[in-house]
């Protein structure tokens, strides 16, 4: 996959994949197909801007999210993630830019359109003196859900977030992870078209975290558009179809995980655990297209290759021909941490 570099200004380089360009900007070039619903993003933010006094927190952030797509905003603390999504969901007055939900403009004063969005705030936002069920019911009513439907849906959500057996306990008796899950449940309750989650796993034990990530994966596959912010590289890699890397209020690069990885132009590392004539095998591998470097190590072969996914089959059959038997394959792709470092000169965890 190739990348185009758009020079917007001297400071900023934006990487966009051809897929991205064709998928969204290509609307005009599509031949008379009027099925716009298919391609209209659920959420489109254009050039969002926000300053707090001297500090420019968000400096021209744009992104689009299609139905069924999980979009991640990955950036360190203070990058402007929360401020961006606060504007995107109409919580915060913006200094500039535009927000479109299903093609309709959304402003803080807009009411009806907000029903399409489910928000999971970064800070746990639940009523501790109400039970889990009461919390859900209250917000359900605010979203105008009919009582009968709300009752069933609340039970459903309680199951999704794994609080079915604690439904009638007050939220202040919950563990941190349970509160986090309830926090997410409230955002899901009214079955929004777009679910916006702001660092929903911060401060959660690994087990709860895994449960949360699993349910978000599930939701993405059910056609929900998801906007997910995080400063955890692994979460963005695991969950997001596309990722915007945000730093100092700007999206520095955007694309799929693999597209972003290309930015650092680092090769994939394939570690093959193998037995047999390893040196012969290594020689065979060296002749394969895209292979940059081959090392025989203790108990296997290390290969640096442009794209592991593309070359893996060729690697395996070359080794097979060289009578090397393979006991394990491990692929190490350049991660987003490296991308971030490359783009900003800093680490994600600063």
């Amino acid at each position: 996959m190739k990348f185009r570099i758009n020079r917007f200004d001297r400071r900023r380089i934006v990487w966009r994949s051809p897929f991205h360009v064709a998928g969204y900007h290509g609307a005009a070039s599509r031949s008379g197909n009027s099925d716009t619903d298919q391609d209209q993003p659920v959420l489109e933010c254009r050039d969002l801007r926000k300053s707090f006094g001297e500090l420019t927190a968000v400096d021209g952030v744009s992104f689009r999210i299609a139905a069924g797509e999980t979009y991640g905003l990955l950036g360190p603390n203070g990058a402007g993630k929360t401020t961006s999504i606060s504007m995107a969901v109409g919580l915060m007055q913006r200094d500039g830019g535009q927000v479109l939900v299903d093609g309709e403009p959304l402003d803080p004063g807009t009411t009806g359109l907000k029903a399409k969005i489910g928000l999971v705030p970064q800070d746990i936002a639940i009523y501790p003196d109400l039970t889990a069920r009461e919390n859900l019911r209250f917000f359900g009513r605010l979203y105008d859900m009919p009582r009968a439907k709300l009752r069933g849906r609340a039970d459903e959500v309680l199951e999704i977030i794994g609080l079915g057996d604690r439904a009638d306990d007050r939220a202040d008796t919950f563990s941190g992870g349970m509160k986090r899950r309830l926090n997410i449940g409230i955002g899901l309750l009214h079955a929004p078209r777009l679910l916006v989650l702001d660092e929903p796993t911060v401060g959660v034990d690994p087990q709860s975290r895994n449960a949360i990530l699993e349910s978000i994966e599930q939701l993405g596959s059910e056609g929900l558009a998801v906007l997910y912010t995080t400063h955890y590289m692994e979460e963005a890699e695991r969950l997001c179809d596309r990722i915007g890397i945000i730093d100092r209020g700007q999206i520095k690069a955007e694309g799929t995980r693999r597209e972003l990885a290309q930015i650092v132009r680092e090769n994939d590392r394939v570690r093959l655990s193998a037995t047999g004539s390893l040196h012969a095998g290594a020689e065979a591998i060296g002749r394969i297209d895209g292979v940059q470097q081959v090392d025989v190590v203790d108990g296997g072969i290390d290969v640096l290759v442009e794209q592991a996914g593309k070359s893996l089959m060729a690697l395996l059959s070359a080794l097979d021909e060289a009578s090397v038997s393979i006991t394990g394959v491990e692929i190490d792709e350049p991660n987003l941490e490296a991308v971030f470092l490359h783009l900003t000169g800093r680490s994600l965890r600063d």
Binding site: L91, K114, L119, D123, I124, A125, I126, L142, Y143
Partner: protein, 397 residues
């Protein structure tokens, strides 16, 4: 509107689980009303009489206006009972020696020492003494106020005398006549005014109503401040992200405050009527006054809360406002009986209007409460007019 009700219903459910609401709204006012009504048995009811021991040792021309004029006048009105003492010591003993003459608790002694008139007339320092009975704060404060006022007028007269004296020494002898005039000027302490305003409310009802209105201002803050609390807890973000207009959030909080205020007042009125024998008066009039007072409490407290940036600040600001206004408004002691500036100043607090309205209701009909209700609604309108735009602007995450 529907979402405002949903928010209010949620808030009330939360408050119903919050013990501090019960304390402020019901337990504290009821308990204190019982204590005030029974233990201290204060003297603000219809049979208000203060008993003063008077030792007129001086027997001079400047003592007479005080003893015969001011005090005598009050005695004639039946507000004050005078007990004659022959010496300062006897008067003091009457105040301190409780039980010595058990039939007549003496609230204060007023002592006019020997040579008082002479010293004043010749421009030498002179003093009037008041011995207060620690057990009857109000009546003894009254004695002090009367004497201070008399002394103030004497000062004034003395000043005039000195000026005159320097011009025409022969008129120095007229000092006594001028003092006579001082004594004859309208009663320095307006006890009579008091009778008109609060006298109609019996003792227990006065204290109960005062305490109820005092705590009403605390009770409504549980609703008013919950806006700041929602922001602190982050739930305000969810309310703002929900498909509802901003004003419905503010309206929801107003409904919550109203609900809390009305329910607590209803419980207090019913409970004090049955338990303490308070007589609040015509139910319709009382209901109108309670609604108006609750509205004013919400407006004032919302305005104060709107000045706060955090929920902690909100709690502090509103508590201070509730205490200051409550005391100014005369909810703890009948400030109207203190006379002077303080008595008029109390009307900067809605509490005073509420008590005034109840007094008017007790002494007359519902129609007589119109000024009080109008004043309370005026408070509500002005303060919420300031608070609502401020609060709306505060509505961000």
């Amino acid at each position: 509107m529907r979402s405002a009700l949903v928010i209010a219903a949620k808030d009330l459910r939360q408050r119903a689980r919050d013990r501090s609401v019960y304390v402020f709204a019901i337990v504290a006012p009821l308990g204190l009303a019982a204590i005030f009504g029974f233990v201290f048995n204060p003297i603000s009811d219809a049979d208000f009489t203060a008993t003063f021991a008077v030792a007129n040792v001086d027997r001079g021309p400047l003592a007479a206006p005080l003893v015969d004029g001011v005090l005598g006048g009050l005695a004639e009105d039946g507000n004050v009972r005078l007990v004659e003492a022959t010496s300062a010591e006897e008067a003091t003993r009457l105040v301190e020696g409780d039980g010595e003459r058990a039939d007549q608790d003496v609230d204060a002694a007023i002592i006019i020492p020997a040579e008082f008139s002479a010293r004043v007339q010749t421009g030498r320092p002179a003093e009037l003494r008041v011995v207060q009975n620690v057990n009857s704060t109000l009546a003894s404060t009254l004695a002090l106020a009367i004497v201070q006022e008399y002394a103030r007028q004497l000062d004034y007269v003395q000043g005039a005398v000195t000026t005159l004296g320097s011009l025409d020494p022969t008129r120095l002898a007229d000092a006594a006549a001028i003092a006579q005039r001082a004594g004859a000027t309208p009663s320095p302490v307006s006890v009579r005014d008091v009778s008109a305003t609060v006298k109609q409310l019996d003792n227990t009802t006065f204290y109960t109503a005062g305490l109820a209105s005092f705590f009403l201002f605390f009770t409504v803050t549980f609703g008013v401040n919950s806006l700041l609390e929602e922001r602190h807890a982050g739930t305000l973000s969810r309310l703002l992200a929900a498909p509802l207009p901003k004003w419905s959030i503010v309206l929801g909080k107003a409904i919550t405050s109203f609900g809390l205020g009305l329910v607590s007042m209803l419980i207090l009125i019913v409970a004090t009527s049955f338990i303490l024998g308070a007589d609040w008066g015509n139910p319709v009039g009382v209901a109108l006054l309670v609604v108006a007072a609750t509205a004013s409490a919400i407006g004032v407290m919302a305005m104060v809360s709107a000045l706060a940036r955090t929920s902690e600040q909100g709690a502090v600001f509103t508590s201070i406002a509730a205490v200051v206004l409550g005391i100014l408004g005369g909810t703890f002691f009948p400030i109207s009986q203190a006379g002077g500036v303080l008595a008029s100043l109390r009307f900067v607090a809605p509490h005073a209007w509420f008590l005034q309205g109840l007094g008017d209701l007790a002494g007359g009909s519902i129609g007589d409460t119109v000024p009080a209700i109008a004043a309370l609604l005026g408070f509500a309108a002005v303060t919420s007019g300031i608070a609502v735009p401020l609060l709306q602007r505060r509505l961000n995450p």
